[in-house]
């Protein structure tokens, strides 16, 4: 593996006494797409939230560009170039699409590039341009997910963490979302750390896959072996 952009070392996370994620190691290289699979309750979301600093870790550490960032405030992580797209349409439902995107760039002090950044998002998701003045909550599930990703794009992150971007989306939309994630990775060289259930569309775009099972990593390597669903089933 090349020089790690984001690394997780023996990270344990939980709530109170309860440990949900047990000593997980994970590495994300520059420009890489890493997909994290696993059954519900395997601890995928908890792991992501801990990496991003939304919840406290119990032990282990998180490194970003070689620097320890364990437990750093989300605000600082965003400033540092890490974007987080939470599960289930992470948008502001009462605000317009445009307002949402502007908020996505909240930490960007230089407002001059705002318009062109928004332009890039609109190019990626033309539907958002059409709906620019519409209230976020009234968008369809797929559009909301695109908006959420668009918001993350607004501050030009070098790492984007996505938590089940495909959840609750119709198959064709899932494909659409996955392709855009791939594009983001290709065009901006953004490294992608993605939790995903939808293996069918998720796996193909990934360069590496990890599988969590009840809080432990049971697989980490190339995606290809997992293409055999029956084999994959065994890991679930």
């Amino acid at each position: 593996m090349s020089e790690q952009l984001l690394a997780v070392e023996r990270l344990s996370v939980g709530y109170g006494k309860k440990t949900v994620v047990h000593e997980v190691d994970l590495g994300l290289a520059e420009r890489e797409i890493l997909i994290v699979l696993g059954h519900n309750g395997a601890g995928k979301t908890t792991l992501m939230q801990a990496i991003f600093g939304l919840i406290r870790t119990q032990s282990g550490r998180v490194l970003y560009r070689g620097e320890p960032i364990t437990g750093r405030k989300p605000a600082d992580n965003v400033l540092g170039g890490i974007a987080y797209v939470p599960q289930g349409h992470g948008i502001f439902r009462s605000l317009t699409v445009r307002a949402n995107l502007e908020l996505g760039a909240f930490v960007v002090r230089d407002r001059s590039r705002l318009e062109e950044d928004m332009e890039t998002v609109f190019e990626m998701f033309p539907i958002l341009r059409e709906r620019a003045t519409q209230i976020g909550g009234t968008l369809s599930g797929g559009q909301q997910q695109m908006l959420a990703i668009g918001m993350a794009l607004m501050h030009k992150p070098s790492v984007m963490i996505l938590d089940e971007p495909s959840i609750g989306l119709a198959p064709n939309l899932v494909e659409r979302v996955m392709r855009s994630i791939q594009t983001i990775n290709r065009e901006f060289g953004t490294a992608i750390l993605m939790v995903e259930q939808n293996v069918r569309y998720g796996l193909p775009i990934a360069q590496r896959a990890a599988v969590l099972k009840t809080g432990r990593k049971v697989y980490d390597g190339p995606p290809e072996p997992l293409e055999d669903r029956v084999e994959l089933m065994k890991l679930f």
């Binding site: 989300p74 605000a75 939470p86 992470g90 009462s94 605000l95 909240f106 930490v107």
Partner: protein
Amino acid sequence: MDLFLQLLLNGFVNGSHYALLGVGFGLIFGTTNIVHFAYGPVYAAGAYSAWTAAALLGFPLFLAGLTGVAAATVLGVASYLLLYRPFVRRDAPTFVVLIASLGLFILLENLIAILFGTDKKVVDGYSAGIHFIGPTFYTDIHIYQIASLMILGLALAAFLRLTNYGKAIQAMTDNADMARVIGIDTNKVSILVFAIGSAISAVPAVLILLRDGALPNMGFIAVFVAFLAVVVGGVGSILGAVLGGFLLGMVENVGMWQIPTEWQSTIAFIVLFFVLLVRPQGLFKGT
């Protein structure tokens, strides 16, 4: 008919007053989800500081008004930092914060009474001009009350829409967790809304000082009306608070066209009672 028109105007004027109170309270409540009962004494403190500046230090009225605004702002922010923040930090149950707020209410109201005495404070030498359209009368203060709502309302709306922090406030009101995700420091935003909300409250306070004079307990009714306006209009919506305030102002005045005035102080609560039974989320708020 004359009466009706007059009541309509009164309703509009009082409505503006209530609306402004509601906007300040609603901004704080909607964003931080703190029921800030001490908003009342903070409002009173605004009036008393303005009086001190005008009557004791001899400031010109406008400067005195600004002094009131400044004082309320400081007090409001202080109440967040010193009282509410510790509770928010350990995310205490909402009702604990609510009682704490009541405690602060009692404390501040009596402090004001001790510092300034219990007699009515009036800014001498100020008398409002009187005007009339046909048979309908109104005074300068009335104009100020309406104007202040218009100006501050628009200013706030612009602030929320155009500035970065304004957007941050909207974001936090909508979804505090998501606000953190996109890198907003929710603590800073809370301080900000307490500052703005308290500052806004001082404006109607100063106008009431000029109109009716100031009394230590003037804050009680103020915070109550504000809370009502916000809940009736719909929490988290500035426009809702404004409309809620107007609705209350109207029923309190136009409603009295036929109903005996002894029910005036109750009718707003009756309205609230039924609004919440029928539409718990408030009248002017979707979903």
